[in-house]
Symmetry: D2
Subunit: 433 residues, 4 copies
């Protein structure tokens, strides 16, 4: 039997707190889950530093990847199968792309991407196409199968319908993470009627559309997404931890470039610091490795690296103030120079962090972050863009919301054993105490 | 104001997926949560290797510790407060003991305790009494307060009632972990009506008793516990991962004792291998550190250490067979010698693992594992031991259940490139293929 | 001891699926629940005809009334108690008003109010002030206590803060029914973080305000309300049942006025038909009585009454079409005359039903349906109207949404045994078949 | 197309709070749901008088019947379909039997069956075979189809496998009601992992068996059942309401036999009182009719009927005491005569009520209430009776538990305006006050 059609003798089942069970019948999917590249996702948290704010958010990308796979499997097997617009030959391709879409994520991706100019999507492609166990499995399906999977994930495939199942404004990825992150954090947002949405999804030539009767479930989903962004993903305390994490990486890189003598050689970082990380090196990275270094760096000579690592490991985070860049740039400059006077390096200890989100948007061709809109399938067979039917969605459509915060170490600023007056000035400006 | 009575200006709240919210008003509790020794519990999973079976079980002991604290807080503040049998002077002591009861847990405690003869309860005591941030906070309450807290946790305190809130057959510890582990694994066991149980708890001189009207909720709790033990805690696949983990530690220790030249010096293990771990060294251990070593040991020269680490990291576990030690000891001996013939060291690759549990027991003085029974408070004020009133509990009371499994590497045994015939014999004995 | 301060020896607890438990300690509350007027609410469904669409929605107003009481009790006892802005002397008044706020609801209130020009709020007042068991209990608290309770419910009391707990845009009434109706119907809307909202409610002189930090929970609540209105309360199938119910009452009234000889004398309706219903008669009405009549009226001579009753009892409802009164009034007139030609009385069988809702509004003095806005309590103590802070709420604020449907008996129109051609014309106009 | 194979153009979906959705594709099922006999189940509560104890328990048998249908549909379509042991020709028969199994239930069945010697199973058969809309639909499937459905429900069919899906110790009926009743009452019992059980069900020639790997889920189900019986179904307060209800029917019957002149003629009861109820009369009965009579009987001349009806309608129930018939029969006799002396008719006001349940039993041929045991399907294909594998089930297997209570009107006994001394004696014997 062709490997692509091979089924497990007995279906395998993963107990999943969000979808109850994840079901696997395809040999290829089972084998992919068993690869070391996929197992590595167990050691990378889905929400990075968020567990320092919501202590339940300790779940991994392994969890989420299985979840996305399961949602796509249900759409294909329970809803699309048998419909003329759906080509079941795309089934395995879609399942593999769903399972592997986050494969290239490294530890604390966001910060690493910022500091080292990584691109996790690039690594996903490399893992799928490179000399890996994942590639080996995919090749068994067909010689061009790895490339096909990579193209779907990169959204360059011609199979637009398959892409829209995995990456669109209402895709399996978002539906899984909203529910999963809500479950593990314990927040009451993030709930919507996914079962309903799945039932009203319909395949069209180049996209998944939603039957009009499911519009309200989609509205609910969009509102959930909005709330999760502002209540969880952009929570200012998690961003504080991420600011520190980013600054640790910055500092370590800078020290390395200055030929600083690390007490313990940062072997796992060498090629990264050199800007020439190989796939092999990249795959060795995970959050246990990073946390290992952060722990030993707590004993480093360099005061800044040591302090930042201690802050991160022991959760002694920066405090924050609202900040309006348009109006307060002068104040920021002033703080900057006061920090220097106080002997607190502002490059590491005075940080503006900005978060921004667009809850939903219709198609605005040519604009950055071009988004494919959600289309409703009307009773008469026409398609209508969601915001034209939904008053709620119309009301928030295209409205970008941005939040700026200024982070600083309140404990340092309250320590009056040195530079008492300068610190007092700083505190006055920041309105603390 | 005395530190022990100091309250936070604004109550702090942790979002908790199990108890919805964890509330902190006491300055001392807040400060304890902020210590590095307590934050370290974030880096130790509550269920060790269980996440390799139930992928949701990635939650930490930090989570659980907050949960136990919250349950005790509710009992004290919502149920006991104002009752003559309860002395509110014991409040802070009880809360601190609840929060800190697992403080001494190291990474993958069970395996470490087995291989290195550690005792996590001993380390809890040392952290509370030693030179730590936790000790510093506790001392602020009173010079003998750290000792008092340690005594409650060690069950040597004279405050039997306080002890029974934290360690008994129906304590806050068990009530939290059953629910929490059920939540994160996603299993449907582990649910019982804790709110009801809390409402019917009553303080007596030396123990917490349960009003008769709450008996059925307690039955349900005992059945939940039973199911969680056999469905989750003793799951044979998790035990497989633990067998491998234990064997890794064994192997590393043995290599160290044989002066094996590690490619990367296992600095964090040196004092452990010497059997002289200090508190400082112990506190540096957590699961990111252990996983770091397991990852680098995948590249070690020693084939056994390398193989076992790869198995653990990439989840390539041992398979298992039912095993009856009373009847099958001869078969085991035979397998042992066949493994040797096949060139597979049975010390590391043929392992009997036994799990055993007693769902509930009444008081059997003098027996090992002496347990305090649960007492029901009858309408007339009498106390009756639970199994005398509950038929269900009576039916299972004192019935120990034990399960033995034999673990082996099925992939090795199926590799017929060497020792084909011996392996065939082994497979026949193990009834695999 | 004063009756108003009397507590039950042992707290009484109702198991509630929505709030887990409803707790009663006050003697007066316990006694009120035991009155026959309050017990009567068990025989009146919370959602009228909705159970014919959502079969789970069989819960009664008794359920809901306990729920509103419990929410108010938690706000007062857990959040407001001890705050200087809250006068605990108002506690019992508030609890009683919460418990009794829906006391005057009759069976299928909406339809009865429409046909007989009843006002359930008026009956609430009469029950509280009249010769009832409820009045007797309230009098025990004080001679003017019944009047005070009635004034709070009627919103004429000077105690604006108390009123706003029970009737405002974010009151205990709405918070209970949204959650309760979601629970019993099983829809996934209707969930919001009530526990969070309760925690951030603060008493002010004349209203309950919400701490700014709880704004997102309030947004979620407003969105839940929006979804519940359009997904559940205004569901077109429930409205079909209500249209029929209303027409049954119409018909019976008309027959009565025409001195039609009922097979079974409608004793319970006599005073209602005469437009002179007494409190005593009103209290005898409940849904079992109404359903009893609908059942026996299935055997009446009058074809319309008989048919409508059979439709209601056996759930053979009218179908519906979208209807735009502005554009389609001519079509309606045409249908009207065609119905007459077809021998189907359009007064009973061709019905336009309109539903309309305003999801949230800020204060627009002088307008009909004047609404008190929700105010946020900022960190600096200022109050800000919700829609000025929340983009989401601002987007939907003041936007009334209205839906019109045209109801008709599809089975009649498809019965071609008579008036074949006319019916064909009607079907063409209604675009059915 | 044969009616039995006819599918709806678009699947119909009922929102169900327990199973999320109930799915209907078969024309015959859809038509059966629309019959007036099936719709009548909306007016009969699933749990009779339990709503007077657990206010949420207002759900109807209509709810439950849809739920049983849905569970059976999932077993057949998702688990059994395609397995050689399952004959898909039995599909529609099984679905119809599942949907209609409770069709003959009347209002407050338990009490009616007791007083009037009804048998709801007999009425189910009559409705299916008699001149009803249900019969008409079933005949469309085939001339002997109604009889086949009736035989499955009556357990006389030769299709043992089909029967065991609907009536066995682990059937769809029990699985639905345990979960549904738990949901609506809000108790925390009644939860078990049905999805798991469904997945491990396997068809055998004459029964449904359970794969060994699902044993713990079955244990949990049996424990849930046990708790639901004792915590909900046999709750002493619900039994008090049922005692009163039964006594109302008794009294009315006796008055009728004594030619008592009812103020309002009890038309709906005439044929029942005569012991000659017809199917047509039976189908006119539902709980709204019964409650209607109870309400008007509150105004009857007869003091006992009047009092009992007022108690029921206004929930002024009897109190109860533990009662041991073996030891306390003398006391009962004494109470009996004292009640007579006190002028309180013991036939109506001193009632012993007994509840009894057997949580699980293996096969005991020839014994009353012969039960088919649950069989586990072992890996090697053997079947093993559940209690031989499960220690928990073995522990409770065959252990009947019985509870006796003595019900009396405490208010009467406390009214010292008459027969003060006798009442004092009674109170002393009952240990009240």
């Amino acid at each position: 039997m062709a490997y692509s059609a091979e089924k497990l003798i007995e279906e395998k089942v993963f107990k999943d707190p969000v979808h109850r069970y994840v079901h696997v019948r395809d040999r290829a999917i089972w084998d992919l889950i068993g690869t070391k590249e996929f197992q590595r996702l167990r050691r990378i948290k889905q929400l990075g530093t968020t567990f320092l704010t919501f202590h339940g958010a300790e779940h991994s990308r392994f969890n989420h990847s299985l979840g996305v796979y399961e949602i796509v499997r249900r759409i294909i097997d329970d809803v699309f199968a048998g419909r003329p617009e759906w080509n079941d030959d795309d089934r395995l391709l879609t399942l593999c792309a769903a399972l592997l879409h986050d494969l290239g994520h490294g530890p604390f991706s966001h910060s690493f991407e910022k500091v080292f100019d990584f691109d996790h999507e690039d690594f996903t492609r490399k893992i799928i196409l490179g000399e890996t166990e994942v590639n080996e499995i995919l090749l068994k399906v067909g010689p061009d199968f790895p490339a096909k999977v990579a193209e779907v994930i990169a959204k360059t495939s011609e199979k637009k319908l398959v892409i829209s199942l995995i990456s669109s404004q209402i895709d399996a990825d978002r539906m899984d993470y909203l529910q999963r992150d809500a479950y593990f954090t314990g927040v009451s947002y993030g709930h919507f009627d996914m079962e309903r949405i799945l039932r009203v999804m319909r395949p069209r030539e180049d996209q998944v559309v939603i039957k009009k009767s499911g519009m309200h479930a989609v509205e609910d989903y969009i509102m959930s997404r909005y709330q999760m962004y502002w209540q969880v993903y952009f929570h200012p305390v998690s961003r504080s931890a991420e600011v520190i994490l980013t600054k640790i990486l910055h500092r370590a890189k800078q020290l390395f470039e200055e030929n600083y003598a690390f007490k313990y050689e940062p072997l796992h970082f060498t090629s990264i610091f050199h800007g020439q990380v190989t796939l092999e090196d990249y795959l060795k990275l995970d959050e246990s490795v990073i946390l290992y270094y952060f722990q030993i760096w707590q004993e480093e000579e360099d005061a800044i690296l040591r302090d930042l690592c201690r802050r991160f490991v022991n959760r002694n985070l920066f405090k924050f103030a609202e900040f309006d860049p348009a109006k307060e740039y002068k104040k920021l400059a002033e703080l900057n120079s006061l920090f220097k006077k106080a002997g607190i390096d502002p490059e590491y200890y005075l940080v503006v962090d900005s978060s921004s989100d667009l809850p939903y948007d219709f198609y605005r061709p040519g604009e950055e972050e071009e988004r494919l809109p959600i289309h409703l399938l009307m009773k008469n067979g026409d398609l209508r863009e969601l915001s034209r039917e939904s008053e709620i969605v119309d009301a928030i459509s295209g409205k970008r919301r941005t939040d700026h915060k200024l982070y600083y170490p309140a404990d340092f600023l309250r320590d009056d054993s040195t530079k008492k007056n300068v610190k007092k000035q700083i505190r006055a400006l920041l309105e603390i105490e």
